[in-house]
């Protein structure tokens, strides 16, 4: 999709439904909640890294259907330790442990002695 202009919208999400990078549907509030918050999050359309093809409704990984990849793996013989989508936990279990991509990093400018993972 091509958007000639970008617009920042502040949307209220008390249940913390959405995560960084998700594509969500928002609704305008009848009244402004604060000076900035004008919308609320209705629901998450497409979570980041869990792509669904809108036409077939199948899961996709970078140009290939997940079913097709699984079928190929089955022919070769599945392994014990291989990654499985059914038993994989939902996104966020490595957040703040090994995955720091939900926040912006910055260049370290001061040696405070405290551990700050976001200071690169």
């Amino acid at each position: 999709m091509y958007f000639p202009k970008h617009e920042f919208v502040y949307a209220h999400d008390p249940e913390k439904k959405c995560k960084t990078g998700d594509m969500v549907l928002i609704e305008q509030l009848p009244q402004k909640l604060t000076r900035l918050i004008t919308h609320k999050v209705k629901h998450v359309l497409y979570p980041l890294g869990d792509v669904t093809d809108p036409i077939t409704g199948k899961k996709v990984i970078a140009g290939k259907f997940r079913d097709h990849i699984d079928a190929i793996n089955k022919v070769y013989g599945e392994r014990e330790g291989a990654f499985k989508y059914e038993s994989a936990p939902a996104r966020g279990w490595q957040e703040d442990q090994k995955d720091f991509s939900h926040q912006e990093t910055y260049i370290k400018y001061h040696e405070s002695g405290e551990h700050d993972p976001l200071a690169v």
């Binding site: 980041l48 869990d50 936990p89 090994k98 720091f100 991509s101 260049i107 400018y109 040696e111 405070s112």
Partner: protein, 272 residues
């Protein structure tokens, strides 16, 4: 007339001395000490995101290509010894390590090109190179190769995150990697800018601590305020009744505040 001008100038000087003037050579008298962060080379594990290095590998095992050899099983002891890692170059030990990493993430037995396998291979090579860099820090060619490989792995981790988040997180956990995105802007660290940021942080901390203090103070006054409110509303209700004017305060309104007060008192008792 001149006298007046003189007096006016003097007054100006006095007022100027009192007000705060910030000239070009302004120096903050806050007790903030800035420590310049140590520069970590990009190839070090701290920057590349490798949380674990190469573990010690047993030297008594056979080289990878001869592991399943039938002839070697029945061979002479000395021949067997010659085919162990002890007598082989370092690259054969590394191969064992790479294959052990790949074994953890393989999709199937014939998998050599999936993104998991690629990532495991790169991770193994990066860790082996990092070990060499520790021993030979002046090896520039290796440094460049290592940096390029680290950047490539990071780029592919970025793609994987966008395409398949669950696998991305699983890979980070199994390969013991850390992923931090690039900062929005790369710039050199200067004393002035760092001090500005630290001062901003200092001021923000003061604001937050004072707000917290004010909040706790208001919480203490809450019970007394509600009691006063009930009394005032009751007084207004009685006065209106007495004067025969239209009632603006209802009984329910006062009851609601009483209820609020009781709940608050109960909550405080529970905490205490």
């Amino acid at each position: 007339m001149n006298n007046y001008r003189f007096i006016l100038k003097e007054i100006e000087k006095l007022t100027l001395n009192k007000t705060f003037v910030r000239n070009y050579a302004f120096k903050s008298d806050l007790k903030i000490k800035w420590v310049r962060p140590e520069v970590i080379p990009s190839y070090k594990p701290g920057k590349s995101g490798d949380l674990g290095g190469v573990p010690p590998i047993e030297k008594q095992q056979f080289m990878l290509d001869f592991k399943n050899s039938k002839e070697l099983q029945t061979a002479n002891e000395n021949v067997k010894k010659l085919f162990t890692l002890e007598f082989a170059p370092k690259k054969f030990t590394n191969r064992i390590y790479f294959s052990s990493l790949i074994e953890q993430v393989k999709r199937h037995d014939y998998d050599v090109g999936s993104i998991e396998v690629k990532m495991a291979k790169w991770t193994g090579v990066i860790r082996a190179f990092q070990d060499i860099m520790e021993r030979f820090p002046t090896n520039r060619r290796l440094k460049v190769k290592l940096k390029e490989l680290i950047d490539k792995r990071k780029k592919h981790l970025k793609y994987l995150r966008r395409w398949d988040y669950k696998k991305f997180e699983w890979l980070l956990a199994t390969l013991n990697l850390e992923y931090k995105p690039h900062p929005p802007k790369y710039h050199s660290i200067t004393r002035k800018e760092s001090l500005q940021k630290l001062t901003d942080k200092y001021c923000e901390d003061i604001v937050q601590s004072r707000l917290k203090q004010y909040h706790s103070q208001l919480e203490i006054e809450q019970i007394a305020f509600l009691e006063e409110k009930i009394r005032t509303l009751a007084f207004i209700r009685d006065e209106e009744k007495h004067c025969g004017v239209q009632h603006t305060v209802t009984e329910e309104e006062i009851d609601e505040i009483r209820k609020q007060l009781d709940e608050l008192k109960q909550k405080r008792d529970c905490i205490a």
